[in-house]
Amino acid sequence: MSKRGIKGALKALCAPLLLMLSGCSKSGLFLLEPKGLISQVTYHYFNLDVGIMLLIIIPTALLAIWAMWRYRKGGGGDYRPEWSHSYLIEAIVWGIPLITVGVLSYLSIKAIYQVNPYNPGAISSKGTAAGKPLDVDVIATDWRWLFIYPKQKIASVDRLVIPAGVPVRFRLTSTSVVNDFIIPQLVGMIDVMPGMRTKQALVADKTGQYVGYSADYSGAGLSWMNFETKAVTKAQFAAWVKKTQAAPQTMTYADFNRFAKPYLAVHHHRMVFGRVQSGLLDYVVREVMSGKVWRTPMAMTENMVRYMKKQQANVKAGEY
């Protein structure tokens, strides 16, 4: 074993405690460092929820430890083997969970309306002060994300660029199987389903780069089905739109039919499309509903060794 290995093993051994401490540095702990309006609201309610639950759970745990220690055999606690009923205790025993669940239910319902993906109370309560929203259509294929900006008529693969401080409204669908859209620091999960259209909305507080990925199992390419989210200033966004519109590649319905063929995005070709045929998302929903299927070939579902070797060769060639 190498020196580094021993060190690593030692580190791993003094584990859970160390981890709790390192949790404070928050590196990679996305849910604990929310950077968007929706995720912050969620985080607020999460803290409330955990706080209330701990108020119950910790005393209960202490009570359990006390009872088993105080009344251990030979511990000298009084012994009343027939004692098995007390109306007062039963009332407390039912009462505490009842009240807790009542309070939490109230909070839960409130929170659900606050972060409702179709019309989040947290954004709509701000009214026009939130700013003019940006529309983005999201299509999940096997296994890439296509982000279409219908007003700007541009599209981008596996990279989402949004202006900070502006509400972004998503419409989402999938070509083949169910995926789940999430940008942990900005917004929670929403299912992306074939033949159906779902919605989501978010506001990024500050500029920055965030990870987004698919959360629901969608096949071999799932692990690589992530995208980077760039929150930029409004001016930068306008510049990006302009630059992208100048890109030569186009995305017509026919192009899309080719694009949607199964592809393991190990290399993340972050392409952009300068012109997108309008109504692409609705077209995909319609096609899938009427029975269009982008079949996964056996090589991508059965015994993938040979297929992955091909991928590996490409990676070695520097295509990562």
Partner: protein, 678 residues
Amino acid sequence: MFVHLQGPWNPVWGRLSLQAIPYQNPILVGTFLFAMIAALAIVGAVFYFRAGPYLWREWFTTVDHKKIGVMYCLLGLVMLFRGFIDALMIRSQQAMAVGPHSPGYLGALHGYLTPFHIGQVYTAHGLIMVVFAATPLLVGIMNIVVPLQIGARDMAYPYLNALGFWLTAAAAALVMLSLFVGNFAHGGWYGFLPYFELPYSPGVGVDYWMWAFQLSAIGTTMGSINLIATIVKMRAPGMTWMRMPIFTWASLSTNLIALTSFPVLMVSLALLGLDRYFGTHFYTAGQGGNLMLYNDLFWVWGHPEVYFLILPAFGMMSEIIPTFSEKTLFGYATMVVASFAIGGVSWGVWLHHFFTMAAEPSVNSFYSVTTMLVGIPTGVKVFNWIFTMYRGRVRFELPMLWALLALFLLLVGGMTGMMNAFAASDYMWHNGVFVVAHFHMMVLLIASSIFGAVEYWFPKVFGFKLEQRWGKWFFWFMVLGTAWVFVPMFILGFAGMTRRLDYVPVTQWAPYLRVMLVGMAFYVVALGFFVAHLYVSLRDRMKNRVGADPWGTTRNLEWMTHSPVPAYNFAFIPRVHARDEWAWRKEHGMANLGNESFEDIHMPRNTGVPVLLGALSFALCFALVWRIWWLAAACLGLVVLVIILRSFARKTDEVIPATTVAGVERAAQDALASPARG
């Protein structure tokens, strides 16, 4: 035949060809060699000791509820081992495959498993742990304990009992076979639609998954019919409803759940089968199908199933804690009400398995609240156990340690469960490892209760106690492993890590994943201690022989008869006078066993038909997986024929003569009287 299949098919072999054997995969070849060596060793031992006829006569063909229960438990333990190996593979793959620069082996890009391979491991781990490890262990223990607790000589339908077991065993065998012939579903144990449709899962994996699941569902449903009928119809005279032991109550409520929910699972799987075999459109995205229909049907079974697993575990805790607190259970009536409340609420919460499907906020609110409601009866149970220890004399013997571990795991699992029920928070980690960590707390709670129950009832079934020293090492290393694996997993949950990843793209998560691997090492050590625990116990079995009541402070009927329990359970059916009948008799000085003039006892006769039906349904499912239609038709015809022929059998029971009974009873009394020697 009816649908477009990728790959070849011919009328004789169906889809089966030499290519189905994964001989290029070193992991599977190694597994195959291990399995072959183990199988050879077992078969060799059977021949060497000429145990074949004995095994066939006394075990395979048995209809004795205790022996069937023991076989259920053995099946569960074997599958638990398989599921654990799967867990090891998942954890090591994820620890290795972090970040774009992690190396890859055996054809994988990162780590050593291709997405195809680890997908199968995920499915197998989940399905095996839930359906082929936890369920058989719980059903096995219920099988052994419930008839004894209610003073019955056997189950209501002994033949059906054996059939249920052999169908479950056939299903487990099917899962194991998928390792070496073809492959297993790659995705997750509960199935994803439309991902499990033919265009996206063209191989036989999903078919293996589906038929094994279906077969085990039929087996479990048979078991639940049997247990309910036994509890309702076979109780000893005097045992009114409110005198029933609490574990029997838990079994009743849990089997009511199984009885009503498993048929829905069968439907959800059968409709998928129609899609895959006949090209119908139940769950397709297009042509009028509805993929959410699958989720609804599946989880209408799936969530009650969770409580199907946990209620017997609660029942076991409710038996163990009073015994080792030397006291009656606190709040018996409340416990019964709570059990049924959990069972009832379980039917109204399934939608929380797809909170993120963009339902109306009002819908999500409803299911958020109903899910939290489960917390009330569960909380009541926790408090009742604590107040059972209160004013008792708590002895920390092994069963009690396991029960207490289960109690603390329930606190963690319950707390995180409430966090999941909080829908708005759930959006952040719905398909994340936080949920995984949560339900592993619950499943480990079930596992702890099972280990506790095995320690607790083992002497009753086999007549000797398990030793305690190695058992305690086993216990503590399980605790360590649990902490080391699941604390980091909860943290990764807050990191936003999602489930079923083959490759982990975020490099910062690497340390947590490595710590989890250390936890797995603790589990491996624990497994070693478990083996030592069993070995030492078996070696010293004569020294550890016990009488009817090995723990001294037990309370229910099962402790009244001899250990090991004779084939007929009770020489005379006891009349019940009190809730804790055995405690009542001891208290009133009536603990002696009745040994006056014995009578003939009618018992069901052993039969090989359930084994045959199990084998035939195994062949039937295998034929269906590979679409070998002629074989499937032949097997189906034979199944029907065997069932009909069996119904013509006249002699299905036999008589144990009074003299034999007297002999057995005397021998048991003598064994007790003579001091145990090593």
